[in-house]
Amino acid sequence: MQSKVITLIVNGRMHQIALNPNVTLLQALRELGYLDVKNGCEKGDCGACAVLLEDKAVNSCLVLAWQADGMEIVTNAGLGTLEHPHPLQEAFADTDGVQCGYCTPGMIIASKALLDNNPHPSEQEIRQALSGNLCRCTGYGQIIRAVQKAAAMMAAGIKTDTGEGGQP
């Protein structure tokens, strides 16, 4: 296999790395240290590895890193930090939308993609938007409430921009 140097712009930071064509975006991101991108199945069943690729939520295990060459990627950790959490992150924490937390980064990415396009989703729209992200702990009710709460916070004008200083 012939490797190629590609460019990935992750959470605003540029990386140039040589990768074989069979490396998935999930593998590349974790190799680069973006460990908030979780590996749950490596075949698109669980959504734990979801990231924003050019503002669209994708399962990074189903994208080859080469396909993302030159593109902008945002992971959950790129949305906010402990000191400056994104309203979605704050709302997930406040409504107990987080239990074990392993699905959470992917859930928040899927929620972010939803709210970017539809700032006032109905409960049914939220459920549909999250249907590719499995959670085994919560039963989804508190996650749905978190998205509703974040939508309300964002509508009320609490900061929504992707913050600087995401990990790593």
């Binding site: 749950g40 402990l82 992150q89 997930f92 392993y102």
Partner: protein, 779 residues
Amino acid sequence: VKYQAKPLPRIQLPELRQVGKPLRRVDALGKAVGATSYAGDFTMPNMLHAKVLRSSEPSARIVRLDVSQARSLPGVVCVLTARDLPGARLTTDIPGQTGQKIRAGTDAPVLAIDSVRFVGEPIALIAAETLELAEHAMELIEIEYEAIPGIFDPQEALKPGAPILHPPDNIVARWKIRKGDVTAGMAGADLVVENTFRMPFVEHAYLEPEAGVAWVDEQGIINIRVCTQVVEHFRSIARAVGVPQNKVRIRGTMVGGGFGGKEDITVEIFLALLAKHTLRPVRLVYTREESFASQSKRHPFIITHRTGVTRDGRITAAEIDMLADSGAYPYLSPYVLLYATIMAPGPYRIDHLRVDSIAVATNQPFTSAFRGFGGPQACIAYEQQMDEIAKALNMDPLELRRINYLKTGDTNATGQVIESATWSEESASHALEALGEKSPDQGPLKVGWGFASYFQSYGRITWLHDTSRAWVGLELDGTVVIRCGTPDLGAGQVNSICQITAEILGVPLDKITVYSTDSAVTPLAGTSTATRQLYMSGNAVAKAASEVRNVLLQRAQKHFEVELEEIDLAESSVFVCSKPEECMSLAELAAVCAAEGLPLANLAQFNAPFSEGIDPETGQGQVFPDFTFGAQAVEVAVDIETGEVSVLKAVACHDVGRAINPAAVEGQIAGGSNQGMGYALMENFIVEQGRIMTPSLSEYMIPTSVDFPPTKVIILESGSGVGPFGAKGIGEPALTPAPAAIANAIADAIGIRIHELPLTAERVLAAMDRVRDGTNRSK
């Protein structure tokens, strides 16, 4: 509205400042922003990558195993087989935690010795410079099997002439309950109802596959960073690896879901062996498929109830037979079976009772702990049986139960007196009332209601003499440190001990730092299993924090010169209750205490009640510290043309004693309900002739956000539990009544009882077809 909630007894619980409040959990924000590290996130310099070669055969002799080519592949550092580890056995944790009782020799070998007994059984370990090399080396291992006749059905396992997995027979465990006089009880019955119910294998399907990294440090200690429910496995690991127990250190991580599946040893023993043999850091992370193939499942059960009942609805006697599939090795089967046996009659007073239960070995995936630990299987049977009895008597199902519910002071199946509140009718009627009006049928959609009551233990079996420890200390700036070994599975184990400490020491949650799940630096708190951490470690931390509080109050008493009862701690200060302006910050008080050498830290141990074992012939004796009671009610619509079942409403109501954090309790209940509804309707881990037909999350379906409505949660608080502040346990009980409630609702909707889970569209349709055929024939 058909049902009205039974009014609750008036109970005055003490007003608390932090306990009982839905505070943001201490672990929540770190997880939400993606800052929390899980076991698979750790790497080390000079690290090797491990793979496990597993059996492709369910029952075979290993005729030839040649690892020489794999060993000589450049970049492969170590290949281990059973030959390299004589006698290494995977002792499971029940004896391992307390060091008291070692079970007979059917524990699984760490690596298969001469034969394999299930698909996925580990055979060889590989450590290589890269993951690709390790995978390549796996392919170079030459293995030749010779098939041995296997057992793929638990009923076949008991037949004469059946192949034997572990001599002398296939019986892995057996329990008996003999209470009262069943013959006399049956003689007093007007009617005897008999039914047999079946349940499938279920997969835990936590989102985080098993993972870890291990290394040997400068003291020769094998350090293992791993996601586990049981830090105390370091003892079993030490025994299997052949080092003293103080030379293995478990550094647990936040666990990405456990549900019992990370109660048995997973990757840690392989990591320990490879680190010891290579003296380099080693990382092992399972793929989803390997997680499915290598770890335990929920026990399939076949349960037969034969119940005698009078015309006015009083149960006179019950006979219950249970058969559980233990899979290829026992693991925790004897204990799961014990739980199922004791819970078998449900939360009902049955004076004349016989239960016989058997767990058998088969060449299937091994079964072990899974949220509820046999309790849900028991409930699926007893609650469907109760509805069938009600139907036979033409009686309302709640009325039948009301006549028979256990009351405080009654004895359970083993003769243990139930001392806490038994709010069965309260919880069932609250859940049913909350369903509101029944939705009307619409064309082919037939609507049904169902509910299930349950009771379930929390805390470990009392003859295991369970203990937990916690250390609480006050820093000189008024902040607090907790050290407690409890692993956090995401259920809020760590937050609970913080909230309890916050209450007792009068500090906000954000002034507390907690260290947990490390066998070297956090006092051993026992397992995050058996719905025991809030009960055990909650009491331990309350004891430690109270000792620190006493030191503070006594010193403050000298300062303020008032009665001790006049002083309280809140919001990081100490003050005189009647004159709150007379106060001092906790930091100032800490400095005064420290200057005088007063102890500002305390290590406390909490012991559960200890008992001796039960009588093996009658099953009588104390087994559990206490029990949780509750119920779930659901409304479903069954499409009689397609067999498809939709859940329209779900309400769960449990008496949790006292909710330490009501939002976290709601999360436990709603999540447990969802898992239980998945168990009833869609989850089926299919094994055919020992081979897994549902190897990944593509084939094994768990509920998504669009499958069920969120469960409405009603929290009742009797304050009668043996946990801190009167709390009972809720982690496992949350799941227990959900599957039976669904099954009862479907039977209500279509008028047909389907005796086997899951109640898939195919199964519902087939059942209706059978009835339609029957109807046609009779015409």
